[in-house]
């Protein structure tokens, strides 16, 4: 058993872009370019990038919702890049995804008891109706929701509660690897901190390996052991969280860090003349 649970080698993804002529050869547009990542077992890797950086596409590749167009992905020693759906099936139980917007990813017409246990049903791990309610209640309890919520529908929950339900669903099959895509971005600060603490707690309790995708470096710092900075489909910098935040090497990482408004009054923060395009270099991060 290697201590690396997930590894990508020169992973790439491209899709055909609109070509200039209907008869022309479709031009492939690279969204992910030669990404090498290694996620140690039990670690939380943060993937940071701005819109269009490819972070969501990369996350979808890692859980094989997308098939890479080049390079490879090894999950626990198995090459999964081009496995068929049937061959992937046993692995799917071990790999889960939590989505950004639980409002649209939880079925509005089903009570939580059904939504949370649907995957258990699909994998034949449910033993009747009684078991469904018990298992759902246990999952709700795990994420800090009242067990009485088994009969509730998603619209009866607050945003933070819905996100907890989304996490509960992802945990149903006791996966060992989870990709969480911007799961705290729509939440208020007070709710967000609770969800972050919950994730920390679950990760320690269940020994999860997590890839946490976010545009928010502050959130990454709270939760992650390692961070990879993505820009234009490439990893520009990758390393332990402490090092990246205290000694960023790449100009883009410094630029990202400098752009975060910390809740401290800092005269002069707004003084730099706004540039007419993305500044290529700007490194005044502390």
């Amino acid at each position: 058993m290697s201590d690396i649970l997930l590894r990508t080698g020169q992973l790439g993804f491209a899709y055909p872009a609109r070509s200039t002529s209907p008869f022309g050869k479709p031009v492939m547009r690279d969204v992910i370019k030669s990404v090498d990542l290694a996620v140690p077992r039990g670690a939380v890797l943060g993937l940071v990038g701005e819109s269009g950086s490819g972070k969501t596409t990369l996350g979808r590749l890692l859980v094989r919702l997308l098939e890479p167009t080049s390079g490879g992905i090894q999950f626990d020693g198995t090459e999964i890049s081009h496995l068929s759906e049937a061959a992937l099936r046993p692995l799917r139980a071990r790999i889960q995804m939590i989505f950004q917007d639980p409002q649209s990813s939880l079925n509005p017409r089903l009570p939580l008891a059904v939504t949370l246990t649907r995957q258990l049903e699909v994998y034949g791990r449910l033993k009747g109706r009684r078991d469904r309610r018990d298992r759902a209640a246990a999952l709700l309890d795990l994420v800090g929701l009242p067990t009485a919520f088994v009969d509730r529908y998603p619209h009866e929950l607050s945003g933070g509660q819905r996100q907890r339900a989304g996490i509960a669903r992802a945990l149903a099959l006791q996966p060992d690897f989870i990709v969480a895509d911007e799961i705290v971005s729509g939440l208020d600060v007070s709710t967000q901190a609770h969800i972050l603490m919950l994730l920390k707690e679950l990760r320690a309790k269940l020994g999860l390996t997590v890839v946490f995708i976010s545009h928010d470096l502050s959130v990454i710092r709270v939760l992650c052991d390692e961070v990879a900075i993505l820009r234009g489909g490439e990893v520009v910098e990758h390393g332990p969280v402490g090092r990246i935040f205290s000694h960023p090497q790449h100009a883009y990482t410094r630029q990202l860090l400098a752009a975060i408004p910390l809740p401290d009054v800092e005269p002069g923060w707004l003084d730099d003349p706004p540039s007419r395009q993305q500044p290529q270099q700007q490194g005044s991060a502390a």
């Binding site: 945003g159 967000q192 603490m197 402490g242 752009a259 910390l262 809740p263 003084d271 395009q277």
Partner: protein
């Protein structure tokens, strides 16, 4: 100092539910005041009251909103509409839904300038191009020809900032204008808002949930929860020595890129519950008080 905007004891209810419970705040001429709160705090309702855009079932139960010494709530609709867009402008949160998707940027800006400043079409077009140049849009002449969907989110927000300052307003209400933007774009947009404010001399009521944004652009701030003002003061004081437990809790729950993970403390649910209980008690008091 003279106040551009003075809200006094504003009570607003939607149906039977109170959303603003006696909000008072002042925005001095030329200052940027942050209005901070989480969802449900009522911060957008303050802006909507000023613009007369409250939801259909909403009613103003009590209070005054004075703009440059005139009571906005008491004045005839026609008079108020004459102020909106010209003397009081809005930078909305979502630039996609605030621009007309089927009209070119130029036509939308020209319509605004013709309506409020009575410019000729030619003069309005020139002014629109100047305004776009002010918000650091490259090649304004080309952008004027484009439709909103042809612009990036940051670009659309620049257009709306240009439109907000177009008539040299005394007050700009900025409603979470950078929430949907990437951090690097957000910084550029905040810099632009500050530059436009200095150039055009407007005061800004900056509505946001982000304490970081408040720290960078607001000189003073008001903390709102459950439709009540919990704290009010110069930003430098409130962020360094917050008086109210809620403000302290919010600061402790805000993840910071410059601090290690264990510094984060979620807001205690008991605190939030006690604040809502206080708000409900207040509702009972006002309901039973003889008119």
């Amino acid at each position: 100092m003279s106040a551009v905007l003075e809200i006094d004891n504003l009570h607003v209810a939607i149906g039977a539910a109170n959303v603003l419970r006696g909000v008072s705040l002042r925005v001095e001429a030329g200052e940027v005041r942050g209005l901070v709160g989480e969802s449900g705090a009522g911060k957008s309702m303050v802006g909507r009251t000023i613009f007369g855009l409250l939801p259909a079932k909403a009613a103003i139960r009590a209070g005054q909103v004075q703009f440059e010494g005139r009571d906005l709530l008491a004045m005839p609709d026609k008079e108020r509409r004459g102020l909106l867009g010209r003397r009081i402008a809005l930078i909305p949160q979502d630039p996609m839904t605030s621009l007309n998707p089927v009209r070119r940027i130029g036509a939308q800006m020209v319509a605004l300038l013709q309506l409020h400043l009575g410019l000729s079409k030619r003069a309005a077009l020139d002014r629109a191009a100047d305004l776009l140049a002010e918000v650091a849009v490259r090649d304004p002449a080309r952008v004027l020809q484009l439709y909103p969907h042809e612009l990036s989110g940051g670009m659309r927000q620049r257009v709306l900032i240009a439109m907000a300052f177009a008539c040299d307003p005394a007050l700009v209400i900025a409603d979470e204008p950078t929430t949907a933007l990437d951090v690097t774009v957000q910084r550029q947009v905040l810099q632009l808002v500050e530059r436009m404010r200095q150039r055009h001399g407007a005061a800004i009521l900056f509505v946001t949930h982000d304490l970081g944004v408040v720290a960078k652009i607001c000189r003073s701030m008001t903390v709102l929860h459950a439709g009540r003002v919990l704290e009010d003061g110069p930003t430098a004081d409130v962020l360094v020595k917050p008086h109210h437990a809620y403000t302290r809790a919010l600061l402790a729950a805000t993840p910071r890129a410059d601090r290690p993970a264990d510094a984060l403390k979620p807001v205690p649910p008991a605190l939030i519950e006690s604040l809502w209980a206080e708000a409900r008690r207040l509702d009972q008091l006002t309901a039973t008080r003889p008119a």
